[in-house]
Every structure is written in C-alpha cells, then in structure tokens.
C-alpha cells in the first residue's frame, strides 16, 4: 500500500473497515459460522439420537431376558416315583446319576398335584437343571417335603412378562393368586449354553467361543501385523514391489468379510482339514481379516514418529534395529494399539465369515479348547433371531446386550493399555 498523507489516511480508514460493505460481509460471516455450528450440533444430536434409540430398544427388549419367573412348587420326593440314592448324589457320579433319572416327569407330577391338570407343562428344561443343582447341593431333599422355587417354562414366562397363550395366561393368574410366582435374576442366562428350550438358554458357551476366537485372532494378527508394518515402513526398499504390496494391503482391508469366510472354507477346511467350527479356524479367518487393519494403522503410527528422534538415535550410533525397537516402536505403540482396537472390534462383531466356516452349529456345551466345536456370540444371536418361539426374542436382545458389554470391556482394556503407553515427544 502506498503511503498516503495522514489526512487522507484518516478519512480512508473508516470507509474500509467500518463501511457498509465491510459490515455486511462481517455479518454474513457470523451468520455462516452460526449456521455451520448449528449443522454440526444437529449432526451430533442425530447421531446421539440413533445411539439412544438403539440402546433403549435393546435395553427394553433385552433386559427382560436377564430375569425369569419362578414358581413355588411343593415337592415330596419320598412319595414320588423318583428312585435316587442320596449317597450317589454326594459322590462324584452325581450328575450321571441325575441324568439317568427322569426329573422332568417327576416335576410334571408334582406340578399337576399342586396346581391342577393344566400345570403339567409348567416346568421345562431350566427347572430340570435347577432341580438337579438343588439336589446336588442338598441331597436331603429326597427324604423330606419342601417347597422349591423353580424357573417356569418359557410359555409361562412369556405370559407373565408380556402376553402369551390363553392357557398360559390362566396359569399365571392362578399362580399369582396363590402368591406362588415371583421374578428373579436369571443367572442361568450367563452360565448356560445353547438349548432348545428358551428358558434354559445361556450365552456362556457363545461367550467362551468368542473369547477363544478373539484370542487366536489377536495372537496371530497382532505380531504379524506389527512386524509387517515395521518391515514395510523401515526396512523395505521403495520400489514397485513394495508399492504393489501397499496397494494390496489397503485393498485387503476393504474386502467384504464374507470373502474371508470363503477363503477360510477353501483353505483351512478343505485343504488343511482343520476341525470344522473350531475357534482355531474362526480365529485364523478373522486374523486374515484383521491383519491389514493393523498393518495400515501400524504403518501410519510409525510414519508419524518424528524423524528427529530417528536422526538423534542414528546420530549416536544406534543400528537400524535399535532405532526401530528402542525408539520408534515405543512411540508408535499408541497408534498401533488404536488400530488393534478397531480391528478387534470389527472381528468381535463378524458373523458372515464364521457362518461360512461352519460356526453355526448347535453347541450345547461350552468349548473346552481351541479345536472343539464352538460358536461365537454374533452367530448365536443370529441363530436365536431365527427361532420361531417368541421367548427367543428377548433372549436375542439380551444376548445383544451381553455382546455390547463384552465389546465395551475389551475396548476399555485396549484403551487403558494405549493410555499407559502414551508418551509425549
């Protein structure tokens, strides 16, 4: 700007900064900023609303699955048809002894005796199991009369919670009139595995399967992913081959997960003949899927370590390996862990590839090892959602809640680890 004489400048200044044109520009700018902030807020609010909707729906539908109704049943085992030797119940063969006995018909008899002819189907698999537990805990029950609180069959349960068949409704009313029905926490949901009777289902089997699968996934994907990232970023020469590898890995991360399922089917099951439906195979498949995510996150984290640290280490005569493992990796660890969290969250929720490799079987007992047949929580949810019985609806929602909590816990653990390793440079 050329220097104008002072008098001119005094009159020129106001018209530039305080004139009408400038003022309207400023106003428009403020309006635009406010509009943008409002839009941003609206976006956040919308997301929050969706999240709230999801959580509230799940909670309202699923919380019921954590509770069950129990009915008070007067029993008199001495007079029943049950032939059980109390001594056997105290020994190591307790469960086998119980399995050989028809507890179900005994319960049916007792129910009919207490509540009438319609009560024959009042108790289901859950009650059988519960009774078995009580007998093992107190074999003296066999010799006396007592009133036991036992979980009702799912039809009664549904009738009590929402509405169900007419007969069931009547049963509920009758029980309520006699004060013989109560609601309690369904501990069995968390400790039992899949069953045909919805009142007896639990998520523990699927939970354990998920846990084992994720373990296999992480134990494979994390070291391989991190080492691959380190090699690609620090040691590999920059030529067409490494460019091709980088492109391939980026694409792998975007491949639909079901393709990995097909891969797992083809390679792990058909070629390598690994046991079907095992956490080992599931873990391997998910590892293939998670590794590219970890590699990409790892590479970015390593790239973001400032070159000044590397130079400093090189400058005092550290070898390449020492630079990487003493300086670069510790600083890149938070970023790597973030990538791992993302990969793990994705793997926890995967259903399609695991369905392809057969982890959809009906597993009644939790898996005991990596090569035992198992299922994972998302698959279990999928299977239950397919069931016709209405009682499964709330169980499905309850399982979803369990899955969400499980994921939150694992993410929380990973975030805690990341924060612990976070260092400033």
């Amino acid at each position: 700007m050329s220097s104008a004489p002072d008098s001119l400048a005094a009159t020129a200044a106001p018209s530039r900064w305080t004139g009408d044109a400038m003022r309207s520009r400023v106003r428009k700018r403020y309006v635009a900023e406010r509009r943008f902030r409002a839009l941003g807020f609206a976006a956040v609010a919308l997301s929050g609303l969706f999240l709230a909707f999801l959580l509230i729906t799940m909670a309202s539908r699923g919380l019921g699955g954590f509770t069950q109704h129990e009915a008070a049943l007067p029993v008199d085992f001495a007079r029943s048809d049950l032939m059980i030797d109390p001594a056997a119940l105290r020994g190591p063969q307790a469960r086998e002894t119980l399995a050989a006995v028809d507890l179900e018909s005994a319960l049916s008899q007792a129910a009919t005796a207490a509540f009438g002819a319609e009560a024959g189907e009042m108790f289901g698999g859950a009650a059988v199991r519960a009774l078995g537990e009580k007998l093992i805990a107190d074999p003296g029950l066999l010799e006396r009369r007592d009133t036991l609180w036992l979980p009702v069959a799912s039809a009664i349960d549904v009738a009590a919670k929402h509405d169900g068949a007419e007969a069931a409704e009547r049963m509920v009313e009758q029980l309520q009139a006699r004060g013989a029905i109560r609601r309690s926490f369904n501990a069995g949901f968390l400790s039992a595995s899949d069953a045909t009777d919805p009142s007896a289902v639990g998520v523990w089997g699927a939970l354990k399967g998920s846990f084992l699968t994720i373990l296999v996934t992480m134990m494979l994907a994390f070291p391989v992913g991190v080492l691959a990232a380190v090699y690609l970023e620090e040691f590999a020469p920059r030529n067409r081959w490494t460019d091709a590898i980088e492109v391939s890995i980026n694409n792998l991360a975007a491949v639909p997960s079901i393709i990995f399922g097909l891969l797992g089917l083809a390679v792990f099951l058909n070629v390598m003949h690994l046991p079907r439906s095992a956490p080992l195979v599931g873990g391997l498949t998910l590892a293939l899927m998670t590794m590219p995510v970890i590699v990409i996150a790892g590479r970015n984290a390593i790239k973001s370590v400032p070159p000044s640290i590397r130079d400093a280490a090189l400058g005092i005569g550290a070898s390449k390996m020492q630079v990487v493992f003493h300086h670069v990796l510790p600083l890149a660890l938070p970023g790597i862990l973030t990538g791992t969290i993302i990969g793990m969250a994705r793997a926890l929720g995967e259903t399609a590839p695991l369905l392809m490799i057969g982890m959809r079987a009906f597993i009644a007992a939790p898996p005991t090892g990596f090569t035992e047949p198992a299922t994972v929580l998302p698959v279990q949810i999928f299977l239950w959602s397919d069931e016709v019985d209405r009682a499964f609806v709330e169980k499905t929602s309850a399982a979803i809640i369990v899955l969400l909590v499980f994921m939150l816990l694992m993410n929380g653990l990973a975030i805690y680890l990341r924060n612990r390793f976070e260092r400033r440079w």
Partner: protein, 330 residues
C-alpha cells in the same frame, strides 16, 4: 609452505607506533579465536587479526602464499588432519547438491561452514557421518577419510563411525526418556560400561562437560523433554559426548535458541575444542566469526573459499565470499 614471520623489525624503527606494533607481534595475538590452548600455541597461529592499518612501517615481508581452496593454510607440519574430504560430490537423484568439495578437518579446532541456504553446507556435514545414507536416492562420490580410513568403504561399520563422529542437530531432539537415560543410552548400546557405577560416572562426566550437571543433578529421572530449549541442546551435546567421539558435527546448534542460551552453547564449544574436532554449520556469520578458527564458505554446492576465520572475515580472497560476508548477497 610456512611463511617466515620476523619478530623484530629489520629496518630502523622510525616512529614510536612501529615499536608498539613490533612489541605486539612479539607478545603474540590477543585475538578472540586464538585464545590460550592447553598444550601451548602452535607456531603458525600467531598472526594478529588484520595487522595494524599501515600506520606503522612494521615489516610484513611477503604476502602469504595463496593455498588452493581446501588445503589447510599453514597446517602444522606433521599433524595430519582428523578428517579429509577429497572431491566429494553428492547427488539427490539427478540433482547435484555438492560439487567437488575438498577440505581438511583438524582436531583442536573449530571449523565453521557458512553460506546461504541451499548451498550444500548441511549436506556436506552429513556426508561426514554418512547420515545421507538414510535419504533414499542420495549418492555420495569422492573420498572421505577418518584417520586415514575411507568411511564409505565396506570395511567401515557405519554404526561405529557414527559413534566416533557424533552429531548435534538444529532443533534439540532429546529422547522422550529421562535425562539419565538420554545420556546413558549411547554408552549402553555400544557397551562402553560394564557396571551401573561406571555408567553413572560416564553420565556425570558427560553432563559436567556439557555444562549441564549443576542444573540437573538433582533431577536425573525427570523427562529430558521437560527442560528448556538451551538445556535440551546441552543435553543433546552431553549425549553425543557420552560415547566418547573424536569429531563432533553441529548443524546450526544454536539457531533455535535465545541469545543467552546461544552464548552458553558457544562457550561450551570453546571448552570442548581442545578435546574434539568440531565442525559447525551456521547461517549466523557472527557466530562463525566468534566460535571458529577455520571457516569454509559454501555457495551453490561448491566450496568457494576455506581459510583462517580471521582472514576470511577481514580480507577474503574471493569476490563471492566478500559479497556474502558484507551483506551484498541477494
């Protein structure tokens, strides 16, 4: 070729001022860059700055012989240079960043590289400890020797080279570890100590030599990055010293620091001079003048002039050097 410097006038001294000048010559220099060294003066270093401006007819026999650029003028006989570069060129891909630079680096001296930005002085500095190896596409030709050994040959272990030729960078870059760990890391990975007590000693000695000990001796476990800028830079110098190098390269070590911290660093360089050969790259000419005994001026990838600092700044030979030094460049 050593010039003869008669200490007394050979013609009758006609005026009192000449006597004073002759006496000054006899007494030796009182210039900034030739302060008393432990181990005595060397005979060739006694020329006073600029001499008297002709007011006294003190005898100046012959103008000193003009050495070819790069050769050490008046090298002390028998003292080989610590590092010697011959016809060094550096290419980044097809682009030539350094053209045919030849220079000797002597110990007991601070050698300064000056020049405008992009002239190649930092590039050349990095060839001395092969830091250019880390840049993809960088190619170094020519011969660089440390104590007579070619540093680019396969017989020289680059990790050891970098321990013997240490480097301090422009922006202080301490490791994100404790102060103790920063200094101890180098000796540890090079196996320079066999016990914790020895390592403690090395750390203390290095911090003392870097002039940082008194300020941090009570908080060695604090993070190195929590120090002020000047302290961080001294920590980096202590870290470089801890591996007992023979040469220390400094790439604009004080350019990110305030004047007081800068002065401390310069004083530190002066103290370290007796023990290590120091090469400093600086874009601050006054700093080069204050701190060095030899200065090399780089311009567009060439080394234009190399000589005694006192001469470069009072009477440079090359027009380009003169233009740059007097602020006529650009």
């Amino acid at each position: 070729m050593k010039e003869k410097m008669p200490l007394t006038s050979t013609t009758p001294v006609p005026s009192p001022s000449a006597a004073i000048a002759a006496d000054a010559q006899r007494r030796g220099p009182s210039t900034v860059d030739e302060a008393a060294l432990p181990g005595g003066h060397r005979a060739d270093e006694r020329e006073p700055v600029g001499g008297s401006l002709g007011a006294a007819p003190a005898p100046v026999a012959v103008a000193p012989p003009v050495p070819s650029p790069g050769e050490s003028p008046e090298a002390a006989p028998g003292r080989a240079p610590k590092m010697r570069a011959k016809s060094v060129s550096v290419f980044y891909g097809d682009n030539q960043a350094l053209k045919d630079v030849s220079i000797d680096i002597h110990e007991d001296r601070v050698t300064a590289f000056i020049g405008p930005s992009g002239c190649g002085k930092s590039t050349f500095l990095r060839t001395l400890n092969r830091m250019n190896d880390t840049i993809a596409g960088a190619r170094v030709t020519g011969n660089i020797e440390l104590d007579g050994q070619d540093i680019n040959s396969s017989a020289m272990d680059v990790v050891q080279l970098r321990a013997r030729v240490g480097m301090v960078f422009q922006k202080p870059n301490p490791f994100p570890k404790s102060i103790y760990e920063n200094v101890a890391y180098g000796p540890r990975i090079h196996g320079l100590s066999s016990s914790k007590a020895e390592l403690d000693q090395i750390v203390e000695k290095s911090l003392k030599r870097a002039g940082l000990w008194d300020e941090v001796k009570d908080r060695l476990q604090d993070s190195g990055t929590a120090l002020s800028g000047g302290q961080q830079q001294r920590l980096c110098i202590a870290r470089a010293i801890a591996v007992d190098p023979e040469v220390i390269l400094m790439d604009e070590p004080a350019s990110a620091l305030d004047p007081i911290a800068t002065a401390k660093i310069e004083e530190l360089i002066h103290e370290l001079r007796g023990r290590y050969a120091i090469v400093i790259v600086t874009h601050n000419m006054q700093q080069a003048a204050r701190v060095s005994q030899r200065t090399a001026f780089f311009h567009l990838g060439e080394m234009v002039e190399y000589g005694k600092t006192s001469e470069i700044f009072t009477n440079p030979r090359e027009r380009r050097t003169q233009d740059y030094i007097t602020g006529r460049y650009g």
